[in-house]
Subunit: 213 residues, 2 copies
Amino acid sequence: MDNPAVSTAAAPSTADRILDAAEDLFAAKGYSATSLGDVADRVGIRSPSLYNHFKNKEALYEAVLERLLAVFSAPLAELDGGPVTNERVFYWLEAIVRQHHANPNLARLLQHAALSGGPHTNELIDRLFRPMFRPDARIEGGALTLFENTGLQPWAVMAFNNLVMSYVTMAPMYRDLLGQDPFSETALENQLSLIKMLLHAVFEYKGDASGSA
Amino acid sequence: MDNPAVSTAAAPSTADRILDAAEDLFAAKGYSATSLGDVADRVGIRSPSLYNHFKNKEALYEAVLERLLAVFSAPLAELDGGPVTNERVFYWLEAIVRQHHANPNLARLLQHAALSGGPHTNELIDRLFRPMFRPDARIEGGALTLFENTGLQPWAVMAFNNLVMSYVTMAPMYRDLLGQDPFSETALENQLSLIKMLLHAVFEYKGDASGSA
DNA sequence: CGGACCAATGTGAATAATCGCGCCTCTCAT
DNA sequence: ATGAGAGGCGCGATTATTCACATTGGTCCG
């Protein structure tokens, strides 16, 4: 009836359902702790059937990663297409936060990779973070001159990135600790205003960076 | 000659060497991805010999956790012993940061637990974070009145915690991305001044928390 | 229009590797 | 000698992977 490649909202193909299941499991338990039996169970097939769609476990993992990276690289490329102004940093940060809320799995996968230093760590770095540190990727208007002379700018960028990502990787814990769903709509708004407030504070802060107890 | 429990700097016992090896491996790869063979190899013994010191893999994991929690609960208890003033928050934050630099493994273990929601997650939460949210654990002097009425305070506390912990859990990546050793002495000082600056900025910031793109 | 053909996709059985773990033996210091 | 601690052996379970085979749906030919 309808070509699956053009269908508007057809039932997802088996390959897609395998990707969905594998993404969730890899993100939660990591690569080696995820068994193909678990994946197959979620899809509702037997594990040998997976090999009709993916060469092996490794290829499945890479396919999961590829699908996620395609989505998450978009806002970064968007920021790349113009001057890095204050307002666009806010806009971009909000886009990133919303994206991680919509799909927490990339952050979780990345966290697993960073912890165990798997072979995919380098690809993740190159695709997600390297573009942030291009020589022309400087914030204009002197908003962050505070960092310029201290060499702290890349670390500050990563700190804000941590703020966004570890919200997601720690989310299961927050559910128990604070008794709220960290992925609810109101939690999203809370996190957004908190991060924006921090960014505002940094933009406006003119004090020196040396602290004392 | 000397009682191992009182020895000043004696050679570590086999049990301690097992704990050291297991701690590193659990922290890097997580519980199920760590094999007892890996642990035994690091210690230089065969895996069945591990059972002379620990009942099973699970007990080994719990022993690792217990040893770490004993160390990391200390500064929290210290903060508990007096009024939560601005200065003491700075002092306490610095203590936490230094501790995570000295031993990154607790943060990594916690991150694994949060991601996969293992059975130990609750104990970690209770021992590490729950004390932060006691009813009397309010920052005095009105420094954070900004949060009081928004209900954001616990989330803000966790955000700063994320800042500290994800520095450690992401550290292997930062080594490749920024080309510096994240655990060097200068990197520690950089992170400290960055975090203190953020905290200062928050303390001084009086704007409203709602942002717009 | 019916039947041969074929590619896609599922299954169960089998395999080799790994892992947690128990059992038994050996060794060595007190 | 005696008991703590190390090694060797091997069982049973799990896993990734392969393979031979059944089923299905669609296509093409007569």
